[in-house]
Symmetry: C2
Subunit: 413 residues, 2 copies
């Protein structure tokens, strides 16, 4: 099948999926979880082929050792994956939730109801564990799914897809399609009539490339240039704690601090010293203000005041996560109100910007887009709404002529 | 200023607008409403120039009489506009609403808060009354606005913009920018780093053109191919009422019925007869199933059963509004659940798919997109959310090591 035929198949299967019950979808996910354990020999054998090819590629300098490391599946990883799939199966039904209810007129009741978006395209690199994870999220939320993995994980992805398709079999065939890796991503990104949302899971450059090459909405973020601003009235011990945790807890994360902004009345020396002691290289050059280091490096800028800090964040940030450290509640509230980023924090680490820490259950990704989902996105990022209106034969003509009148009465949901 | 400079100006003014109070924005809108009345001579004089040029264009066959008619402003239209602006001013504050609140851990509280999207680009044709309307919606919701009107309304738009800018003066300068009409739309649609949402207000072909030429999210719909399905168990009088209202109440509307689907056990003759008596041409050719007539015409298809009707709707519809007429509650619920359109109705006219009738206050547009807002969109379609987290110095390290634990306790909003 061509990618277009696969997307069509996912679209039509997704529509059939709407008719499946909560229990049917949950049981399919439970079978998937079981199959990841029961068929682990088959999965690990396929994975071993990718890992072996990866080792050659590393030896020949065609692949980074970090990428090769992310390829490998183990019985432990499969067990964790199975557990994750079971957790998604056990989540409350996301579909058919009534978000608003309103009586428009006597006997005419409107409800806004959560519904699947349609067909998702997930483009992922290296890690084959993404496949069962996102498939579970897509099935739980009633969406069709088109998967495009990296060619370095061809055997693993094929095996995982085969196991998945067999496990979920009573669900409509074609609801999870794996696109063969020789297909170019560009071809998939043209299918804006068939695919409703693209979710890239991979490097910043992959995400940036996808965002700039498609008309399909993209859920994700290319950059995480996060800031911590230490205000004039910060508690310095607290500020040091927050700065070190924000930078050093996991420097490769998108929610790690990249630039430290310090009010001019605060001595930056203790921060520089503490960061250097933690192995962080501190840059004080304007060229660095746009940089996401994703490692033990950061930029430092002394700012005149909070407005200057906010201006810097808007000019150089990526709209991901920004933190103010201050004991001044008025300054804190003004920062929280005026900073135009997905996450804005007072007196805590930037590393809390995460779906699990936010209590969203599964994390679909972190979005810096301004429409649809923003910030850490849980399964609700895979949903849209429909408006359901139930009447008793009402026409609009009597409302236009004044014979009938709208009541517009809010109802309990 | 170039369009890019104007968009930058709107972006920066929009950020300043965040700092304005509810009262400041409401007062600016009240002054705008007053100015539309007080300065009507100036507005009507500018409009007269456009209308005169329009009459020449009509005489020379360069403009349709319908388009020319939509150009004209009158004291009555200005009064209605002023009333609309006052109604928007009086709406509850849309910004800063807490949509969710959760304690993540002791002393660490997360809130999801409504916020402006950023900068909107509104592209409109002909009707100059769009300008103060959308400006009022944008200001109310704290968004920057870039306006691009049609060249046929150049004088009117310039005058309306001048009156608007002077009336709202204490708000940040540049928050509503009017792009000169010699700028090509294509140039604006490239500014995806500066503009967050495009709202086209005009013909289907304008919307379709915009949707296919930009990476910026577009709020709107190109087509409204809406269906009424008369089920085997429909009340026939009720079905006739609904079909006639859906088609004839305002045939040019996007929510008017374009295709009537009739179950094969139902005699279509009374429907054809009633429609023809109402002046409607009824087509029974498959070529018509994709057509939005926007006039007194419709397509008719006899279907085998409800599944066949749903299949037809998914194959030929535009995902706007679909209606089932039936006395069978099981069939009704299945239709409401399975039809994948923005609005799905049981036993009422398709013409209820409208922001005013839905009780949304002002209508921004009707969207057939599946992400962000869907269906009739009120001011909430101009909003996004931010995640605000308030702490007391928390780091994530103790949560990773197990020293600290998340509580994830939902709080009242």
């Amino acid at each position: 099948m061509s990618p277009t035929e696969q997307a069509l198949s996912a679209r039509s299967a997704a529509r059939a999926l709407r008719a499946s019950s909560t229990a049917e979808r949950a049981q399919a996910l439970q079978r998937l979880a079981a199959a990841l354990i029961e068929r682990q020999d088959e999965l690990l054998a396929a994975n071993a082929a990718d890992v072996a090819e990866g080792q050659i590629a590393v030896a020949e300098g065609r692949m980074s050792p970090a990428l090769a490391a992310r390829l490998k599946l183990t019985p432990g990883k499969l067990a964790t994956l199975a557990q994750g799939v079971r957790a998604i199966a056990a989540m409350p039904e996301p579909l058919g939730r009534v978000l608003a209810a309103r009586e428009l007129a006597e006997g005419l009741v409107l409800r806004q109801v959560s519904s699947p978006i349609g067909v998702l395209l997930v483009i992922f690199e290296s890690r084959p564990d993404v496949l069962p994870q996102v498939a579970a999220l897509a099935l739980k939320s009633g969406n069709g799914l088109v998967l495009k993995g990296g060619k370095e994980a061809t055997h693993s992805n094929r095996a995982l897809h085969r196991v998945l398709v067999e496990a979920i079999a009573p669900l409509p065939a074609g609801c999870v399609e794996l696109v063969e890796t020789r297909t170019q991503i560009a071809e998939l990104l043209e299918l804006d009539q068939l695919i409703d949302l693209v979710i890239p899971r991979g490097s910043n450059s992959l995400v940036r490339h996808i965002q700039s090459s498609t008309r399909i909405p993209v859920l994700g973020h290319a950059d995480g240039v996060c800031h911590v601003y230490v205000d004039a009235h910060a508690d310095l011990d607290r500020a040091l704690d927050i700065v070190l945790d924000s930078k050093c807890d996991y420097p490769a994360a998108c929610n790690a601090m990249e630039t430290l902004l310090v009010h001019r009345s605060v001595d930056p020396a203790p921060f520089v010293e503490a960061l250097r002691r933690a192995g962080v290289t501190v840059h004080e050059r304007p060229e660095d203000w746009h940089t996401e280091y994703s490692g033990l490096e950061c930029a430092l800028r002394v700012v005149d005041d909070m407005d200057h800090a906010i201006e810097h964040i808007h000019a150089y940030g990526s709209g991901h996560t920004e933190v103010i450290v201050t004991r001044d509640p008025v300054a804190a509230e003004r920062f929280l109100e005026q900073v135009d980023s997905a996450c804005v924090f007072h007196d805590c680490s930037s590393r809390f910007a995460d779906g699990y820490r936010f209590g969203l259950g599964a994390e679909v990704g972190i979005s810096t887009a301004r429409v649809h989902a923003r910030g850490p996105v849980g399964i609700e990022g895979l949903l849209t709404t429909r408006w359901i209106l139930r009447g008793r034969g009402q026409r609009v003509a009597p409302f236009s002529s004044g014979e009938a009148a709208f009541t517009h009465r809010e109802l309990e949901v």
